[in-house]
């Protein structure tokens, strides 16, 4: 089965995967509302049911889901402090399409190579040692062809220990469960808070996962939020009655 045909039954969408891609590209459904985890689970269940792994289909699925993840993370993360301008949903969708087309280009080039190989391997070449009289490649005829310094340089390359890897882009794992717990605790204590007051100091990943957790709570009706103007403060409020749940 092609990944595109994977049948999905999500909170905000039911239908085949390729249709989901279509409505996302048309921006009819916000990617923010779609649980990509559920799609992965659906696919894994399908794999389990099918009992065998179709590598092409799995590759296609991974490519699509990875593109969606990247797109979604762009949509969710607060705009970068510096660096390239944030992509709008339309540009992001275009980039997704461009990524898929780039892959397609090499997939088709691969098919071409496969045809070349198919005709090329019908020709068998000779593989035989040289006759003895030619094999005595006379040592005497050999003259210097290489510079010994090349060996010294290569040795120096091999002695070089790589600099400490730059780990600034690796962030600690942030657990969604943990963020949910923190939010629930906060909302029990205060009933309402300003998102930036509490989380502006966190790194981007923590902020994003916290936002995810908030989305999850919104979906479950545990919390709501309000943002009066673009980039303005986000006020988060519990949906529970004062008596608690």
């Amino acid at each position: 089965m092609r990944a595109a045909e994977l049948d999905l039954d999500l909170d905000v969408f039911a239908g085949p995967f390729d249709l989901l891609m279509a409505v996302v590209l048309r921006e009819e459904v916000s990617l923010a509302e779609i649980s990509l985890g559920e799609i992965v689970v659906a696919y894994l269940e399908h794999l389990e049911g099918a009992g065998e792994l179709d590598l092409d289909a799995a590759t296609e699925f991974l490519l699509l889901i990875a593109s969606l993840l990247e797109l979604k993370s762009r949509l969710l993360l607060p705009s970068a402090e510096e660096g390239p301008a944030e992509l709008g949903p339309a540009e992001a969708a275009d980039e997704l399409l461009a990524r898929m087309l780039e892959y397609r280009r090499y997939r088709d080039a691969a098919a071409h190579l496969d045809r070349l190989f198919g005709s090329g391997r019908r020709y068998v070449y000779r593989s035989a040692p040289l006759p003895p009289e030619l094999r005595r490649a006379s040592l005497d005829a050999a003259t210097q062809a290489y510079d010994p310094l090349r060996l010294g340089v290569a040795l120096g390359d091999l002695l070089r220990v790589p600099p400490e890897p730059d780990t600034s882009h690796i962030r600690p794992t942030v657990s969604l469960e943990r963020r949910l717990a923190i939010l629930r605790e906060l909302l029990t204590d205060r009933r309402s808070f300003d998102f930036d007051d509490l989380f502006a100091g966190d790194d981007r990943l923590t902020q994003a996962v916290t936002l995810f957790a908030l989305l999850e709570m919104h979906k479950r009706g545990e919390a709501s939020w309000e943002q009066r103007k673009l980039f303005g403060p986000i006020q988060v409020t519990t949906s529970a009655s004062p008596e608690g749940r």
Binding site: D18, R104, R105
Partner: protein, 190 residues
Amino acid sequence: MTTELQRTVEALLFLAPEPVSVTELAEACEVTEAEVDRAVDALEAVLRDGERGLVLRHVAGGYALAADPVAEDAARRLLSRPRTPPLTQAQAETLAIVSYLQPVSRPEIARIRGVSSESAVATLGERGLIEESGRSRFGAVVYRTTPLFEKLFGISGLDELPDPSRFDPTPEDERELRERLLRAGEQRSS
């Protein structure tokens, strides 16, 4: 009349383990490259008339003799040489990326394919189709195709590979792709 040069060229290509360039043939025969060109053309014409068991192949920047495919099955029986296994999809895609973008690193291949391509790269290396060609400035090994790749794929050089833009979908196809998705969406919502 077959010239002595033509006979010598045939004998050299018979002996040489790898494709031999016109320059190397000219040096070995102590003649000009133009003379070699003529001798090669004549040899090719003789072999091409279908009366012979050998064919002349212009591969990997040189010339090589190969058995005529008519003898393929008998040759495999005689030499008990198994047929080269076909490329898997992962290998073919990886090879396509290396052949067009070389030198190219494994992370770059993985980025384009969307999946880690470690085992495809390793297998292509073992099959002698790609090789390391140095390291990128970040220390990652970069890869390129080998002369064996050109020999087995029957091309005389990388410039014989078609322009990759040839594989791009036409604007119509691209539009069609979008529209097909959009139509599916409309059917769904109606």
